[in-house]
């Protein structure tokens, strides 16, 4: 590594202090921007090794550096084509090495497989502790 900073606190010029643990614990540990429509593809990411297209509206995102436990926070957003209708993305399964997301065409169908559709511009962000 080119350099190293070891510090317990960060301080602004105005004297406001914050512990570096806020930064370490609050940073996203993994994120991915991907499409499920057509041939699935990842456009950008951090700490992601692959996505798996499990079927319509059903994706698994695998992580490079695993999470410490399955009690992490995952946020998933997406859209369906270019229209402005409401579409819903949700987390189906949390595992330390992967996260499974499902994508539906309205909030009424979120629990039912028959409402699944392939979304575009899916964003997944994970906060939590790394293994």
């Amino acid at each position: 590594m080119a350099g190293k900073i070891i510090a317990d606190t960060l301080e602004t010029g105005a004297g406001a202090e914050i512990s570096t643990s806020y930064v370490v614990n609050g940073s996203a540990k993994a994120w991915a921007h991907y499409n499920a429509d057509g041939i699935a593809a990842i456009s950008n990411s951090l700490n992601t090794s692959s996505i798996t297209d499990n079927g319509t509206g059903d994706m698994t995102i695998s992580h490079g550096s695993s999470l410490n436990d399955a009690n992490y926070s995952a946020t998933c957003t997406s859209r369906f084509g270019l229209n402005e209708n409401a579409y819903v993305s949700a987390i189906k399964r949390y595992a330390t090495s992967s996260t499974r997301t499902i994508h539906n065409n309205s909030s009424q169908d979120v629990l039912y497989a028959n409402g699944r559709v392939d979304h575009t511009d899916i964003g997944l962000v994970l906060h939590g502790d790394l293994a």
Binding site: M1, A2, K29, A32, Y34, D37, G38, I39, A40, A41, I42, N44, S45, L46, N47, T48, S49, S50, I51, T52, D53, N54, G55, T56, S62, G64, S65, S66, N68, D69, A95, T96, S97, S98, D118, L130, A131
Partner: protein
């Protein structure tokens, strides 16, 4: 670019270095596999930043490290990882070819029950192909099966 000598560096930090310093590699390879007769074929898509790290070398741990963590997570009383150090302290792998990286990824992200016996039985349940070989439309997406005519690309 030369990979720094990462000794005991957290894997996440190594992946951050890769993202900051390496050009992402969008692989054309896709892995199509069937792990349940009741479900359609699944398609694994490699991550471009991860592929760059794999091909660069000196960043990723050997794949057996992930198997060890998977074994721990499969235990019924699993709460959290206690052997995460394996990811960070095991000597990283050297540079891989694109094909070797795909094989590593299969053994990391596909179910073991698929890749260990992919060619046992009366038809293959896993194929490495290129994305151009996959159907472009989703009209019959949930009926996808591995075609016996699909040529192995790697």
């Amino acid at each position: 670019m030369q990979t720094p000598t990462f000794k005991g560096t957290h894997l996440w930090d190594r992946l951050c270095w890769a993202k900051e310093n390496l050009e992402p590699h969008q692989s054309d390879y896709r892995v199509v596999y069937e792990d349940s007769i009741d479900e359609c074929a699944k398609i694994l898509v490699p991550d471009p930043n991860w592929m760059a790290a794999a091909m660069q070398g000196g960043i990723l741990p050997p794949v057996w490290v992930y198997w060890e963590l998977a074994k721990d997570e499969a235990e019924p009383d699993f709460k959290k990882h206690t052997r995460g150090y394996l990811l960070h302290e095991t000597e990283p792998m050297g540079p891989m070819t694109e094909e070797a990286a795909i094989e590593y990824l299969i053994m990391k992200d596909c179910p073991e029950s698929v890749w260990k016996t992919y060619n046992v039985g009366n038809r293959p349940k896993m194929v490495i192909c290129t994305k151009q070989q996959l159907p472009q439309t989703r009209e019959w997406r949930n009926a996808w099966k591995i075609s016996e005519d699909l040529e192995v690309a790697a």
